[in-house]
């Protein structure tokens, strides 16, 4: 197990390092002068020179990379051209919207998926099973941003239950409008993100529970007189949670991508909206900082999921791999 953990740590460090190179390298592909691209052709020569100096464009590329990575390690992501504020500050501010949104959608998807998956497994081949499979098929087929638009149409424009967009009291850091209105504004976006995730998780739960139900210890428990519901909840569900947790962890990267789009549907001032606006504003410093942070987040979550799964079930981590010839 220790060897596995060390191997995973080394792989994490290598991936983080490579990810930083990729983000840095891709933004070097900007044709022509990046400072000119950001400021436009009407920029004053001294403003251009100042930005070139701030971006380190007058230095060799390796120096620039080392300087940027060094800053990254100390939480310094540069200064946004549009907002004239440190990118780290902007990110921290926007996380106050994106993190609760992601967390809320994870909670909703799990709360929806586990009972549905259990129900489908318990009713295998019957109406309940087909209904859940139908929901799952529909859920994975509908993009979250379309679900978001349909939710706005129904709950905001028709029923007037929820706001169609925006975030109350967004005048600076924190939840200026209070917890209630903020959650009210986050519920529809979270639901839009959660429905496709719940569809996938419900299918995974159903499969995992069915696989567990086919195992010997379940048959033994039934033979000893344990009831169907108790077997499902006490024996099948806990064993099925490892694959469910694995998929939940892997869904984080889809959640990140989904949040970028859904935040824009609801004009929520989160990280995704900041990234999208930064592209429009040609603020490459913000784009670079946000993308690298999101990538690091995904890498970290994947590593945590790997380690958690290895701790819960050490067999795969210790089993040898490779071609047998």
């Amino acid at each position: 197990m220790l060897a596995f953990l060390l191997r995973r740590l080394v792989s994490l460090i290598v991936t983080v390092w490579l990810a930083s190179i990729v983000v840095f390298a891709v933004l070097q592909l900007v044709p022509g002068d990046p400072a000119l691209l950001m400021l436009g052709v009407n920029a004053q020569p001294d403003t251009l020179a100042a930005l070139r100096s701030q971006m380190g464009l007058d230095q060799p590329i390796l120096t620039r990379y080392l300087h940027w990575v060094g800053g990254l390690a100390h939480g310094d992501l540069g200064v946004s051209l549009t907002y004239a504020r440190p990118v780290a500050e902007l990110v921290a501010e926007r996380l106050a919207v994106t993190l609760p949104l992601a967390l809320l959608s994870l909670i909703i998807s799990t709360v929806l998926a586990l009972p549905l998956g259990l129900l489908a497994a318990a009713r295998r081949g019957r109406g309940g099973d087909w209904a859940v499979l139908g929901f799952a098929q529909l859920g994975v087929s509908m993009p979250s941003f379309w679900i978001a638009i349909l939710l706005i149409l129904l709950f905001s424009l028709t029923l007037h239950w929820f706001p169609a967009g925006g975030f109350p009291g967004w005048t600076g850091p924190g939840w200026g409008g209070g917890i209630g209105p903020a959650l009210h504004a986050l519920l529809l976006p979270a639901l839009a993100l959660a429905i496709p995730e719940a569809a996938i998780l419900a299918r995974v739960t159903r499969t995992a529970v069915l696989d567990t139900l086919a195992e010997d210890h379940i048959r033994t428990a039934r033979a000893k007189g344990v009831g169907r519901v108790a077997v499902l909840l006490r024996h099948a569900l806990p064993n099925a949670l490892i694959p469910v947790a694995t998929v939940l962890g892997l869904q984080i990267s889809f959640l990140v991508a989904g949040a970028v789009v859904v935040e824009n549907v609801f004009t929520l001032p989160g990280l995704g909206r900041l990234l999208y606006q930064a592209i429009g504003q040609r603020d490459l410093i913000v784009v670079q900082g946000v993308v690298v942070l999101l990538a690091l987040f995904v890498v970290l979550v994947n590593a945590v999921v790997d380690v958690a799964c290895a701790l819960a079930d050490p067999r795969p981590a210790n089993s040898g791999q490779g071609r047998v010839s």
Binding site: S141, P143, R323
Partner: protein, 275 residues
């Protein structure tokens, strides 16, 4: 005995063929030219003249959806095709080389998975500008990483089977064994995965076009149509429904096709398919 084809395979193939037929038909015929602007006929509800109504420029929505199908499927096909070209050889190589090759593919996979396809596309757009090509590149990179992993896993299992060992003992080289024995035995798994990735590519393309980073106007795309429709949600709500239905039907067709193929190729998975 000939195995019965799963229902999901029938339904998936029918839906996919329907969308492909619509895309191909748009090459020859659409009710109106998809880019024809008629401001006097803007935001019209469905009627005999415009079956799905018109958008804010008076363009015929059905015609736009038909051409959008062509664009979406073209982007999806290119992203999956390039993914196959990159991922399958890499996965086969990793399996043939054993531990060292495994390590390289695993690390490359970790790196690509650090960037969800939408994030890669955003990064490329920031550097090179918006457009379908950047979307294809971003999606193809992600697909190649997934396909390399799937190919590697499936190929490793085939390498362990006795007939491959026998072929090697009889003097067949690793390259020849890979092409003659390994590749045909993993083709089914790869095709299933490619079908699912096609569906994922359609969703991602639509999301990026919704943000204005994908297929560029005046070329119609389902995602962009939804983005435009959101502005007129109160006056013309149906405009936000039809392109979404087109996306959902295409994705549903492809995922059901993938699930059905998997069930057919490996009946142990039947009704327990997991994306």
């Amino acid at each position: 005995m000939r195995r019965k084809l799963p229902l999901s395979l029938h339904l998936g193939a029918a839906l996919t063929l329907l969308m492909v037929a619509m895309a191909l038909l748009s090459l020859l015929w659409t009710p109106y030219p998809a880019e024809q602007v008629r401001v006097v006929a803007r935001l019209k509800p469905p009627s005999a003249a415009h079956w799905l109504g018109t958008d804010h420029f008076g363009r015929d929505v059905l015609s736009m959806i038909m051409v959008g199908a062509r664009n979406s499927l073209a982007v999806g096909a290119a992203a999956v095709g390039l993914g196959l070209l990159g991922g399958v050889p890499l996965g086969l190589l990793a399996a043939a080389l054993g531990r060292w090759g495994d390590e390289v593919v695993a690390r490359l996979g970790d790196l690509v998975f650090a960037f969800p396809a939408v994030l890669t596309a955003i990064l490329l757009t920031a550097a090179l500008g918006a457009g379908a090509i950047n979307v294809v590149v971003a999606l193809a990179l992600f697909n190649a990483a997934v396909l390399a992993r799937v190919t590697r896993g499936a190929a490793l299992a085939v390498w362990r089977r006795p007939f491959v060992g026998a072929a090697l003992a009889l003097g067949r080289g690793p390259l020849s064994a890979t092409l003659v024995h390994v590749l045909p035995n993993i083709a089914g798994i790869v095709v299933v995965q490619a079908t699912i990735l096609f569906a994922v590519a359609i969703v991602n393309e639509a999301a990026l076009s919704y943000l204005g980073l994908g297929i560029q106007p005046p070329n119609p795309s389902w995602g962009k149509m939804l983005g435009d429709a959101q502005t007129f949600l109160f006056t013309a709500p149906l405009q936000a429904v039809f392109p979404g239905v087109a996306i959902a039907l295409t994705v549903m067709g492809l995922t059901m096709l993938g699930d059905g193929l998997r069930d057919w190729l490996d009946p142990r998975h039947r009704t327990s398919g997991v994306m």
